[in-house]
């Protein structure tokens, strides 16, 4: 497993950002089996060859592509509504080969119930788009990373030029420490709201209303039990609290670098459903996300493997793997 990065970019539009994400995923082995530039439907490959407008462009209304990781059974589809507004969905066990795909219409999954919307919704014939997949064009820095080996996790994230909490986050997070009965150990997330702490949290010491409050708002996973009851459930990262001195407090961002080695400590991120959900349970442990125990700001780095490694980047109340460079802010 090795992450490949497209980091420190400043895309002019959301179409440029998603086009670069597509290129990154293809560079680590993903394929585009069908697509459309909004003008021409290609049933056997990638019709989108540029991030701009016109023929072959990503930045045309209703342009879409299906993208598939090597092996496995999941497929993903991205469709542009406007450069800031997207429709994104995944299938977990079905191919996106049904329906009546066209220049402006996405295909449907072979199994009609096997579709999870990460952004937008509607129908293939009458799609709706998420309002704020990206902030206003040209206002943000953009980073993406993708694993070049199974299980092919990836993320993309953006924050305002000059700094601030994330304005975009999209990830497919493979899990470890999962339940023995879990046949789809992944969590999917696409931020579809305005920039701020609701995307990836912050380190204000009070995670309510932030990344930890995703129930009904973002991260999803299948809680499909062995009896075949399918359907996505909302999952939340689990916050970690202590009660030192009798006062309950979150430990996120509250401890500082470790005194033993001077490094930044990171807590693992586990996902769980709401205890009152009809599909209760712990989903598993994230392989992408950890929680910082030192207070840092978005775009800062943390060095865990060694001094100066810069191997994690702070994004709101979370950290993601990083490539060792100084992030552009």
């Amino acid at each position: 497993m090795s992450l490949v990065f497209t980091a420190n970019t400043t895309p002019a539009t959301g179409a440029v950002a998603i086009f670069s994400l597509k290129a990154l995923l293809k560079s680590v082995g993903w394929t585009v089996p069908r697509s459309s530039d909004g003008l021409t439907y290609n049933s056997s490959g990638d019709q989108i060859t540029s991030s701009g407008s016109g023929a072959g462009g990503m930045n045309n209304a209703s342009a879409w592509f299906v993208i598939v990781p090597p092996g496995g059974t999941a497929q993903y589809c991205f469709q542009l509504g406007a450069t800031t507004s997207w429709r994104i969905f995944t299938t977990r066990f079905s191919t996106l080969t049904a329906g009546t795909p066209s220049a402006t219409q996405t295909p449907a999954p072979v199994s009609v119930t096997d579709r999870i919307y990460l952004a937008g919704g509607g129908t293939d014939a009458s799609p709706t788009f998420a309002g704020s997949t990206f902030a206003a064009d040209g206002t943000y820095r953009f980073h993406a990373a993708a694993d070049n080996a199974s299980p092919y996790g990836f993320y993309s994230v953006a924050y305002a030029i000059g700094g601030g909490l994330p304005s975009h986050a999209l990830f497919v997070d493979p899990l470890t420490d999962t339940d023995a009965g879990d046949t789809d150990p992944f969590v999917f997330y696409s931020s579809n709201g305005p920039p701020g702490s609701s995307l990836l949290g912050d380190l204000d010491g009070n995670p309510s209303g932030s990344f930890f409050n995703m129930i009904g708002a973002g991260a999803q996973a299948l809680m499909n039990n062995p009896f075949g009851i399918l359907g996505p459930a909302y999952v939340s990262p689990i916050a970690i609290h202590g009660i030192p001195g009798g006062t309950q407090t979150t430990l996120h961002g509250q401890l500082g670098p470790n005194p033993v080695n001077g490094k930044d400590d990171l807590l693992p991120c586990y996902y769980a459903t709401d205890p009152t959900d009809s599909r209760p349970g712990i989903k598993g442990r994230s392989t992408l996300i950890r929680f910082p125990m030192s207070g840092r700001t978005t775009g800062d780095t943390q060095s865990v493997s060694g001094a100066g490694a810069k191997d994690w980047i702070v994004l709101g109340g979370s950290v993601f793997p990083w490539n060792g460079s100084v992030p552009l802010v």
Binding site: N213, I240, L251, P280, M293
Partner: protein, 323 residues
């Protein structure tokens, strides 16, 4: 590495419980380096041969012994106070205990007190004699983690815990990735907590006992400190409302039906003053997420391989514990 168990015993006294624990630890390779039974002293071996009173007895006032791990330098010393419920428990990282007499425990230049039985706060290690079942586990390979836990006969929250907890995922550079915890008595929720989503006992709230879990911080570094440490517990914020996940799931995991636990992380919060930071992940304790009574078992990696103790679970040997 294999976990060894000695379970379902009802010791007549706290002294017998400690004697049973000593014998159990010796059976997997620990050695007694010095001891005193109040009447005689050995600077090289074990003079305590039974759990009662009189010559060779553990139940004599101020009887004591030093136990050394099979490899390495770590030593633990336990001394009976004026009752069999009160014990002075101390730890030497590397210097080793020296000296001592028939009724006077040894000392070490680096000794740290884990439970000052009968001392400040008059903490005890056990509740009323003969009222609890004793269960013990010890790893027969390095890093030699162990626990001893007492559960009331007939059921109820634990009344005794004595453990050395090696860290999983410890911080690199930590010279002593262990947490020690020795506590007991009748205030049951203040020992290992309860699953009622609030009371985690001294695992999470160091104010609930004069003997919270303790560990070395910055061992080997400048101004190293041995002091209290707190266990961190999982919370969720569904719809913005803070909800503890300890005991919160009425049912097993939807995916498999299994009852659920969560890793317990040891941390030193900034409010503890000196050397805050992350210590590591417990290799013994996992937080209980389902409302189960102490003495229940869970299937984690195999059948009945965890036992419920208060708000947490500990490794178990696959059998049904006597309650």
């Amino acid at each position: 590495m294999a976990k060894q168990f000695s379970i379902n015993q009802i010791p007549a006294t706290g002294s017998e419980a400690i004697f049973l624990w000593k014998q159990f630890m010796k059976s997997i390779g620990w050695t007694v380096t010095r001891s005193g039974d109040t009447f005689s002293f050995s600077g090289s071996g074990d003079v305590i041969t039974h759990g009662g009173i009189g010559a060779g007895g553990m139940n004599n006032t101020f009887a004591w012994f030093v136990l050394q791990a099979p490899t390495g330098t770590k030593q633990l010393q336990l001394q009976r106070n004026v009752t069999s419920l009160e014990w002075n428990v101390s730890y030497s990282f590397s210097a080793g205990f020296t000296g001592g007499a028939a009724a006077a425990r040894a000392s070490a230049t680096d000794q740290k007190t884990i439970n000052n039985g009968g001392g400040v706060g008059t903490p005890t290690l056990f509740t009323t004699d003969g009222t609890y079942r004793l269960h013990m586990m010890a790893d027969d390979a390095s890093p030699y983690g162990f626990y001893s836990v007492g559960i009331p006969c007939g059921g109820g929250l634990p009344t005794h815990i004595w453990m050395m907890d090696p860290m999983l995922e410890s911080v690199s550079g930590d010279a002593d990735p262990l947490v020690f915890y020795g506590d007991g008595g009748t205030s049951a929720t203040n020992i290992l907590g309860a699953y009622n989503a609030v009371a985690y006992g001294p695992l999470g709230n160091n104010t609930l006992s004069s003997v919270p879990p303790q560990a070395w911080r910055n061992k080997g570094g400048g101004s190293e400190t041995f002091g209290p440490i707190t266990g961190a517990f999982p919370f969720a914020y569904p719809f913005g409302t803070r909800t503890s996940l300890a005991g919160a799931y009425a049912h097993g995991n939807h995916l498999s039906g299994k009852r659920m636990t969560f890793p317990l992380f040891w941390c030193v919060p900034t409010s503890f003053g000196t050397y805050p930071g992350f210590k590591g992940t417990s290799s013994l304790l996992r937080v209980l997420l389902n409302p189960l009574a102490t003495g229940s078992t869970l299937d984690f990696s195999s059948s009945k391989d965890r036992i419920v103790v208060g708000a947490c679970t500990l490794p178990w040997n696959g059998t049904d514990p006597r309650v």
